[in-house]
Amino acid sequence: MDYFADALVIGLTEQGPLALAAMGLALIYYLNGIINVAYAETITLGAYFGMWANTTLGMNFYGSLVVAGAVAGGISVATYGLIFRPALRRHVGTLEVIIISFGLSVFLRHGLQFVFGYLARFYDVPSPTFTSVLGVGVTRFQIIAVGLVVALGLALYVFIQRTDPGQRIRALASDAQLAEVSGIDPRRVTVLMWFVAGVAGGLAGAFWGVASSVQPDLGFSRILLILLVVVVAGGRNASSLWRVQAVGLAAGVLLSALTLRIDPLHAQIWLLVAFLVVLKARAQQTIGAGQV
């Protein structure tokens, strides 16, 4: 029983940011159908700017969180405006958009090193105090991270399902042309969603950054898991965001459970294999989508 409690607590707290980032990526996927690999750099840059606000501007962690989220949100919107919106307007194919996002990711990941350097940077925060949850020591930041995951999930649910702008978003996601015809301005709604997605990513980056270090590949080293959560949770309907949150948290717990038994490297391999199994099992459902 201890093992499961440990896995659960560690999984939720250490990997809380995973679910947060997955929800952000899922927002973009939900709205525009794009898997944006460069979202990794939104995460990374959030971490860097948060660290910068913390160390250079002297803000405490919570203040730097706001900076991290805001800057990442802005960067996300900028990438939408400069690259993804033009791509969508030119009707660039799915595969090509993925490759574009890969290119953007590479570009940003190396470009940022000319600004921030390539060595690991660190947040300047007091040593964490640990509170015991179910016999496992967790830090306050980790608890906040999980709290944010849940809060964001709830907020998004309420926003998308229960509000007017949310209804517009749902309409846009399911049929962009029809939505436009009925007078919804896709641009404002889309910009808002990309901003929120960016904020989620930036916050995740800050939490990851403060827990270990801030490096150029902070986001990219995690983007595979993040996109697997989104692809496996699947679908572009309203319940998808719930599923993404659930799969993201479950993946975190599974990873922790595995790491408690076997070394981290092999734990990651088994986690990936688990994802591949689920991916294949769900593959059957794409039949009938066409018109032949």
Partner: protein, 313 residues
């Protein structure tokens, strides 16, 4: 002829290495052209198959002391089997699924190379792997020749595919898989078989590289190689075989041969900033090309210039 001889054999070792990389990327891009340009499979795990062949070969030769040729064939077969498995996984997945699955595969190969320390030496590295023959001080040039012959054969095969029923089938699968299925074509099986063959070839290229590199590190199995191959293909043109050649010459050829060898870069710039600058250019190229000229320099297939017209035409 003398000039070429001097150029190759009188040149510094890193020129040969640069040329080797260019030819190898051409080979990998040609194989990716079959997968992506024809059959529509967005394989982002190129370095995984290449790395599996490289490390498979390395482990057999160094850890198990297998003979060279046997290890080479076994490594190629291993990559081919991986191709069958990955092919089976991705043949009925949509683009996002293929992205996730192929990236996962490449990551697993990297994690194994890093983690199976008893087999691969992990971070310490695996070596020493020599050339299978010795023709003196410039055996590396001879090895470049071997690679060029093999990549030449791959190019020949790819061109023949375009002019054969198999190529027509692959193009149909990439264009409109459901329609091909409705004509009785076994599209799943075709994609799986294609991945098996092309992955085996990618593994072979990896295994050959082991001799050139002499020492293997997990850091070799890096997404950077996949990116270089994709950029080369996209720049040259993913729909034409020669696109792989043109693209590789203009990217790897430019950055790893022409500039590195002939432009005198300040040493600390060359060490740290230049590789990052190179990556930024690659990334930027991908964005700009796919937005404004997605078919690359050579443009689309021109099958109207290719078709055999039969007796009547």
């Amino acid at each position: 002829m003398n000039g070429l001889w001097d150029f190759l054999f009188g040149s510094p070792a890193f020129l040969t290495f640069g040329l080797y990389t260019v030819v190898m990327v051409i080979g990998l891009a040609l194989l990716l052209h079959l997968q992506m340009g024809l059959a529509g499979i967005g394989n982002f795990g190129v370095v995984g198959f290449w790395g599996l062949g490289m490390y498979g070969f390395g482990v057999l030769v160094v850890t198990y002391e297998w003979p060279y040729l046997g290890a080479l064939l076994a490594a190629t077969a291993l990559a081919g089997v991986a191709g069958v498995v990955v092919g089976w996984l991705v043949a009925d997945l949509d683009t996002d699924g293929v992205l996730g699955a192929t990236l996962s595969f490449a990551t697993i190969v990297l994690l194994l190379a890093d983690g199976e320390r008893d087999l691969t030496g992990g971070q310490v590295g695996l070596g020493t792997i020599d050339f299978p023959f010795d023709v003196g001080a410039r055996t590396d040039v001879a090895w470049l020749g071997v690679l060029t012959a093999i990549v030449g054969a791959i190019l020949y095969y790819v061109r023949r595919v375009h002019r054969s029923p198999y190529g027509r089938l692959l193009i149909a699968v990439g264009d409109n898989e459901a329609l091909a299925t409705s004509l009785g074509k076994a599209t799943f099986r075709s994609k799986m078989l294609l991945l098996a063959l092309t992955s085996a070839a990618m593994g072979l290229l990896g295994a050959l590289y082991a001799s050139m590199s002499h020492f293997l590190f997990p850091s070799h199995v890096d997404v950077r190689l996949t990116i270089a191959v994709v950029v080369a293909l996209v720049l040259g043109g993913s729909r034409q075989p020669l696109g792989a050649v043109v693209g590789a010459l203009l990217t790897v050829g430019l950055f790893d041969v022409v500039i590195k060898v002939y432009v005198r870069l300040p040493p600390d710039f060359a060490e740290q900033a230049y590789p990052k600058f190179q990556q930024m250019v690659y990334g930027g190229l991908l964005i700009v090309l796919l937005l404004f000229r997605p078919l690359g320099l050579l443009g689309d297939m021109r099958r109207d210039r290719l078709s055999k017209r039969g007796r009547h035409g």
